[in-house]
Amino acid sequence: MKKPAKAAKPATARGKAAPKAARARRNDAAPALTDADRVGLFQTMIAIREFEEQVQLSYLEGLVHGTTHLCNGQEAVAAGVCKALRDDDYVTYTYRGHGHCLARGMDIEAAFAELFGRETGVCGGFGGSMHLTDMERGLIGAFGIVGAGLPVAVGAGLSAQLAAREQVSVCFFGDGATNIGAFHEAMNMAQVWKLPVVFVCENNLYGEFSHISHTTPYEDLVTRAAGYAMENVKVDGNDVEAVYEAAAVAVARARGGGGPTFIECKTYRHRGHSRTDPAKYRHPDELAAWMKRDPIPVYRARLVKRGVITDRKADAIVAKAREASKAAAARAAAAAWPATGRDMAALTFA
């Protein structure tokens, strides 16, 4: 009897497309951020936060239908990862996807209009909050079924590998999603085929209402990646620059033919799972501790301290974003409903 295994080196797979071996930029450091980049990261986080604050207000006005899943508290993940991407990269995400879409530059009026179910919505009102899609920005799909986006991201990664344009495919998903079969199949395929896929797990400690300890044998999800002998890294998901750095390394590895990476971002959602959830299952102390680590004020303080931004400038960014969200929501709310009585055949089939 031999010793129990801890992890293993990947075996060389036969019959797969040849990796672009030339530039294996594997352990390179991330390209350094300029101060302008830093302000950009701050702006992105603010844009997401203000968008969702407005969603919440619009919700109370009855403009948002069904349910919504806000990402307050997790903005640093979307902002940091998307900063490391090119325009022609592909992204999949979930019902909790507003942040990812905005970080990729989705037009906020079209986003609001979609949440409001209007004709001018980014999906013409057909998708709603859980299904924002925007192909022009590589936003290839929001998946309402937990885990379902991961195999799709693997397909986009395979597409990128075959096209040899050094694109990268990123998928965002939660801690809970690492328990479902689709996660496993996707991780395995990406690793066997050495695909340029970056798996970004936003570990916010909860599924809907259940703590990770109910559903997963440990709290550090990088352990999952060890099971595929996949490169992996654990990062403070509330530190936007740390997220960016981890993502930049992973993205460079993927572009260089070095295969997939699993990034675990430790983070927390400030609100409940969805609009009807008061999140009583969380201890107030836990919430309070995480609120102190809110990625936005933390980063703002850091930028101010480092002299990258003044308080006045920061306030102006917030005010501008708030105003933009408010104005966009107002325009979206004034937009027409989608026409009824249409023949939907052309929308169903191409």
Partner: protein, 332 residues
Amino acid sequence: MAEREITYREAILTALQEEMRRDPKTLIMGEDIAESGGPFKTTLGLVDEFGPARVRDTPIAETGFVGAALGLALTGWRPIVEIMFADFLGVCFDQIVNGIAKHRLMSGGRVKVPVTIRAIGGAGLRFAAQHSQTAESWMLSVPGLKIVCPSSPAEAYSMLKGAIRDDNPVLVLEHKALLSSKGPVPVGSDDAAMPTGPRILRPGKHVTIVATLAMVGRALEAADLLAADGIEAEVMDLRVLRPFDASAVAESVRKTNRLVLVEEQVAAGGWSASVVADVVTEAFDYLDAPPIRVTLPDYPLPYSPPLEDEAIPSPTRIADAARKLMRDTGRG
């Protein structure tokens, strides 16, 4: 036993509680069902009474825990699983259709598979295409599986109790738009047989309207509209989708000679087609005109309220279908 006015949600909870008290070999598994009582609160408080071993939060792993239900059932337990949205039956489909439903026959009838699968489905709440399906059409053809669908608190209560006691796999399809609806329920009842066929909710002689789940209420509303025109509709709740038996519908048609079916699924491959096919066989000479099916249109359900509303059969559309039948048969 006492008749109480409670919600559909409470009816489900009460049935679970009573059956779990009655039989220590019952247990329930699902996502966020223990301390949190489930996203639709149909299991609220059960964990306090029965403990976390019998009221069990699962990982997001429907294949895993539905498959586990088969293992539990084969080894002496009577598991109940909750599928949070019926749409998610897709991720554990294999375990249901190839595993749970077939295990008994493949063993030559030598095993029993007392598994209850509760799935909460249905449209109308602006949950868009992946969270609004009742999804029964996927499984109408699955031999070895029973499917029931409650349209009222009393039905939710008795069907669930019957399903739990049944020694076979039963899928209980609940409807999320009905959860807060109220009605009299004979709580504490020990009589919990599975329904064997449709129930007539409103007798009538001109046209038979068959519906399930949330469409039952709309069919009853349509009957009110029709009554104003002097048309007496007989409204039936189909209740049982598997094993499938349309003979009670045929019987009603022998009286009314007209048939409208209201289905919250698309027309192709749905139960209404099977009802029509069977009624045509059994009561061919009694049909005065072709039955009309009022169903979802043939595209995935859109999110936007006007688009969703347009898609779901309304009382007006149902009544219009009945009126058309009356006209087509020279009684309009």
